[in-house]
Each structure stands twice: as structure tokens, then as C-alpha cells.
Amino acid sequence: MTLLGVRDLRVDFRGSGSVVPAVRGISLSVEAGEVVGVVGESGSGKSAAMLALTGLLPAGARASGSVRLSGRELLGAREEDLRRVRGSQIGMVFQDALSALNPTMPVGRQLAEAAARHLHLGPRAAHDRAVELLAAVGLPDPVRRAGEYPHRWSGGMRQRALVAMALAARPRLVLADEPTSALDAELAAEIADLLLRLRAEAGTAVLVSSHDLGLIARTADRVLVMYAGRIVEGGAVEDVFLRPAHPYTAALLGALPGGLRPGESLRPIPGDPPDPSRVGPGCAFAPRCGHAMHGCLLVDPEPYRVSGDNGHLTRCWRYDPEAPPGGGVAHGAP
């Protein structure tokens, strides 16, 4: 059975008198032991979607649709049930490491508590588990580290402690929202490595969202590209990154420096990222798309299969069966 099944998830933020549709209907699935990446920039809605999966949206936000974990519906479930699910079946690694760790407790104790609560361990066993976790995330001298307080640690160490927290109860799925955004390249690589080891050693599935394309390329089996609250492309990571079907994906990959001669001007995407409260009918990317057609401005396309690749789908009118042939996107990947 599919580990995580999301169907037509929508998230609205209610502000003063206005409703901002951050997520406008996304559907995805994560199988056991899979690493699925979600690529999106500001305004894409990926963070809202991640929060919605475990009921962590702030007050004033409403989610609708269906989120099923091993068949059990999470959206709209009672807070107590959700709390049990969080931590024991779904581990979460979110962006702001410092605020997720309790500054008044040694790290080891926080981990032990989490482990004890979800795995029903006694204090000695829980402490051992905490040390085991710290070692698993690559922190040297874990026994000593377990007794230290979070504020003494560097950003990279704290981020790893967050991953350890997420794993304390041996969840089957880990959600990671921008796990590397505040880290330098080496630490980011280590976190990426860690995520891969999770899957290899414990069979944990991972859903990781980021705007760091390199991180996704490194860790994900499948990737979903989000833009303005919708998924515009999805497929195996090699297919999407090497043969991007959607103009946004291609433009995003093309905006990076790889593949150009040094010193040459880069190719940013014209215009600015979308304001989620002001998306018109039709494809949200059309105003910035070099291939936009009349129909693109009128109706938001449904997903189409990209021929030649298995499981590669894209929301783009150019792939409609009635579309004229030869509308190939310039492959911008390096």
C-alpha cells in the first residue's frame, strides 16, 4: 500500500478580509522507502503543503482534500491522534533548527524523551537510543554530546540534531522542508547524505522540499516541481532534470550557471515569482513563459504524459494530443 497518499490538497490562508490560495490542488504519493523531492521557489506553496500534511498550519489557514498515511486519513483528524502520528510515524525536519530544540534541556534528554514516549522505552533504553541516534547522524563523541545544550552547538550540528529528533521514534516517513537552506555547502552535502542513509539503512521514506536543485538531484528518486500552488511536472529525477518537459522546469534549470561559458550573462526567468493571491485563470506560469499560447492564458492544463519516459507527467498544453508537433522545450539542464 502507498505509504503517503495526497489527493487534491488545497490550502487557503485567511488574512484580513482576503483569502490567499497557497496550494491549489496537488496530488502526490510516496511509497515506502522512496525519496521524493519537491522543488519550488517562493510562492510555490511547498512549505504550506508540508505543514498541511501533519496539521501544523497556523491559525487562519484552512486545508481541504485528502491526506492518507497507510490508508488512514490525517486531514481533519483530531489533534490527539495527529500528535501520536507526528513523531512516531512521521518525523519532521523543518527549517528553523534553533527554535525546534528546547534550549533549557540537554539534547540527549530531548531525544530520549521523544524515543521513550513513542517507543515505550524505559529511561536507560531511551538514553541508549538517544546516543545511537546522535551517532547515526554523524555527530562525533555522541555520549558527551548528549549532555550538552543546543545553544552551544553550531548550526550544522543543530540541524543534525533535528534530524535525530525526527528519527527518534523510527518513523516510516520523514518530511523535510528546506533542511539545508541555512547551511553551507559541506553541511548541506552531509545532510543530503544522511537522508540517503536513512533510506538505505532503515527503509525510511523521505519527502523533501527545497529550492536547492542540487540537493534534490542528489537525494531524490522522484521529483515534483511546484509553481504557484500546483504541481507542474513530476517524474523520475533523471527524466525531469535531464529532459525537463515543463517550460518552468527548463527555465529554472537554465537559470543556473552550469553549462554556460564562464562570465557569460545568466538567463534568469523574466518577471517575478507569482503572488499567490493574484493568479489569474489559465496556467500560472504563462505570463513568464516563452512558449505561451492563447490557450495557456485561458485554462490551466491537466497533467499529460511525456512520451518516452515512464511516469513523467507535466501540466503543459504543448503536450496535449491536439497540440502541433515539434513544440519541444529547449533542454536547459547542464
Binding site: 553551507d184 555547502a185 542528489r218 533523471e238 564562464p262 545568466l266 538567463r267 526567468i269 547542464p334
Partner: protein, 349 residues
């Protein structure tokens, strides 16, 4: 790069020791020397804790060094910090949200460095904003109305308003979306093309640094461990730390991206003094490394490295770089900082 003329920026044996809570000095910048020429984009890479932000502030004159000198066109950058100095070096910050005063309108922000009477402000602001691709209507707005990329452009407009010769860009792209990073980078490249702007470009994004920088320095725990032309560093890195950074830098080809990074070893507490600072983490470490601090030496033409074994002798031998080629081991001990030709050396001090 033509090195005949006097360098725009000359940094000589710069040190900045910051006392920590117990009063012990942290050597944020520990003996750095280099030069940047007009119109050159000089890259600076390093992990967190390497001292690059401290170096940025010292170069911009926002901090006072413990020892050493920062010279702009031959004159020290710190001293009387009057308007004259500010016209030569400006700074662009990483945090675009904290870099603009939330209570000032954009027209006041971008013209802050100029002393303009009120009526001239709007017009000049419109010109400055147009140069960075923002509409004139932005002048009347407050910072909260703008996205990260737009704020960074406003910061750039503010810096360029005083027409500096050198721009210190302290991780200006880190907080931005990838498609927006390209916009900012193009602006900098454009400024270099049209106005001969030089730039000290600090980043931890190796791919971007490789793309836009002429020369690159790699910093580790307050010191330069490698300096050289961008292409050389990318293809033929001569220091294990640089190689580690390259290996960690992700490629966008998923088939190649799954290389394992060089594993970290040992503690995080740097032991200053004895031996090479990178020794605890170096996969090629030998006894000599722990005993002797390797000096920064010119290994091949214009390519410097602070490793005892930069010109051969790494054990185990390094994995081939993407564009592997043999290393030309030319040992030329030189005391002057990288980037200066012999003529300049006598003049600059």
C-alpha cells in the same frame, strides 16, 4: 588579468581577533593578504566559521583590524570615515530583509548616501532604480512591499548611488530563489562591463563563483588555503579543502550527484597554532601536517596553496577531478601576496 596598474584593493597580513565570552581571542581573520584589481571579480569561498564575513566588513571599513592593513588605491580604508571613503567601497549584504530600514521609503533609502534636497530625491531615485530593473513607482513604497530579490536590487541601487570602485558582496545570493539569483548576478556582471566595477564576491555556491569570478580564494579558519584563477581551482584544485568543497558541491546531473562527500573527521574545535588547521579533517594528512603550518606558496603560475603536498605526494592519491590533468609542480617561494606583479610590490606599501 592585466596586472600592470596599481591594485584597487590591497590587503596586507590582515588579522582580526575577536575575544569570546571568556576573553580568549578567536582568530576570525588570521593573516590574510591579497589584491583586487579594477574591474576584477574576486571570489571568496569558505564554510561557516571561515571568517569570510569578518573579512568583508574589514574590507568595507566597517570594522577595525587587530593588525595589518586594508588599502584602497593606496590609502587606508579606515580612518576618517567621511563621504570620500564611502565613494570607493560599498557593501551588499546577505540578509536582504535586514538591509533596508523598514521605516524609510525606498527613495530615501537609495539616495541616503547622497546629500540631496528633497525635490531632487525622487528623480535621482527613479534613475537608480531603473538601473537595477525596478520601476520608478517603487520609489514611493516601503521595503515590506518587496520580495527578497527586489530588496537586494534596492540594496544594490543604494550602493551604486555613490559610484564606488569596489563592491563587497557578502553572500548576496544565499537567501534568494535560484531564478532570482541570476538576475542579481547579471546586474553585477553588467556593472563590471559598463562601469568597471570590481567586486569581492563572497559565496558558498561554488558553481556560481566558478561562473562569474576571475580569481578565487578559499578560506578556512581565518586563512587562505588556496588562491588562483577560477578555472584552475575548479579543474585542478591544489588543496584538500578545496577538493572537499568541490565534491560537496552538488551537480545537477542526478547520475553524477550521488558522489559521497569527503567525510569529516575529528572534532570541531580548531586547535590554533600547531600544524595545518585542516589537519584534523584532511584525508591525506601526514605527520608533517600536524607539526608544521604550511605557508601559502605559489605552486603554479598565479595559483597558490597552503598545503605541504600541493605539488604531489598526497596519500592516498586524490580522485581525478572532472577535467583532470597533470599538475605542473613549479615551486616558487614568494612572499608577496597573490595578484601583485613585481613592479607593484615595491610601490604598494
Amino acid at each position: 588579468m592585466e596586472h600592470r596598474d596599481r591594485p584597487l584593493l590591497f590587503v596586507r597580513d590582515l588579522r582580526r581577533h575577536i575575544p569570546d565570552r571568556r576573553g580568549r581571542p578567536i582568530r576570525a581573520v588570521d593573516g590574510v593578504s591579497f589584491a583586487v584589481h579594477r574591474g576584477e571579480i574576486f571570489g571568496l569561498v569558505g564554510g561557516s566559521g571561515s571568517g569570510k564575513s569578518t573579512l568583508a566588513r574589514l574590507v568595507a571599513g566597517l570594522d577595525r583590524p587587530t593588525s595589518g592593513a586594508v588599502l584602497l588605491s593606496g590609502r587606508p580604508v579606515r580612518g576618517s570615515r567621511g563621504p570620500a571613503r564611502s565613494r570607493e567601497v560599498q557593501i551588499l549584504f546577505q540578509d536582504a530583509y535586514a538591509a533596508l530600514d523598514p521605516r524609510m521609503r525606498v527613495e530615501e533609502i537609495v539616495t541616503e548616501g547622497l546629500r540631496l534636497p528633497r525635490r531632487e530625491r525622487r528623480g535621482r531615485a527613479a534613475e537608480l532604480l531603473a538601473a537595477v530593473g525596478l520601476p520608478a513607482s517603487a520609489a514611493a513604497e516601503f521595503p515590506y512591499a518587496f520580495s527578497g530579490g527586489q530588496r537586494q536590487r534596492i540594496g544594490l541601487a543604494r550602493a551604486m548611488a555613490v559610484d564606488p570602485d569596489l563592491l563587497v558582496a557578502d553572500e548576496p545570493l544565499s537567501a534568494l530563489d535560484p531564478s532570482v539569483q541570476a538576475q542579481i548576478v547579471n546586474l553585477i556582471l553588467d556593472l563590471r562591463r559598463r562601469r568597471g566595477l570590481a567586486c569581492l564576491f563572497i559565496s558558498h555556491d561554488l558553481a556560481m563563483v566558478r561562473h562569474i569570478c576571475d580569481r578565487v580564494a578559499v578560506m578556512y579558519l581565518g586563512r587562505f588555503v588556496e588562491v588562483g584563477p577560477a578555472a584552475s581551482l575548479a579543474d585542478r584544485a591544489l588543496h584538500p579543502y578545496t577538493r572537499a568543497l568541490s565534491a560537496a558541491a552538488p551537480s545537477l546531473d542526478p547520475r553524477q550527484a550521488r558522489l559521497r562527500p569527503v567525510p569529516r573527521r575529528g572534532g570541531y574545535d580548531p586547535a590554533p597554532g600547531a600544524g595545518c588547521p585542516f589537519a584534523p579533517r584532511c584525508p591525506h594528512v601526514r605527520d608533517r601536517c600536524r607539526a608544521e603550518v604550511p605557508p601559502l606558496r605559489e605552486i603554479t603560475l598565479e595559483h597558490w596553496s597552503a598545503c605541504h603536498f600541493a605539488n604531489g605526494g598526497w596519500d592516498p592519491p586524490p580522485r581525478p577531478c572532472p577535467a583532470a590533468s597533470g599538475q605542473q609542480a613549479v615551486e616558487q617561494p614568494a612572499e608577496s601576496p597573490p595578484g601583485l606583479s613585481a613592479e607593484v610590490r615595491t610601490e604598494a606599501v
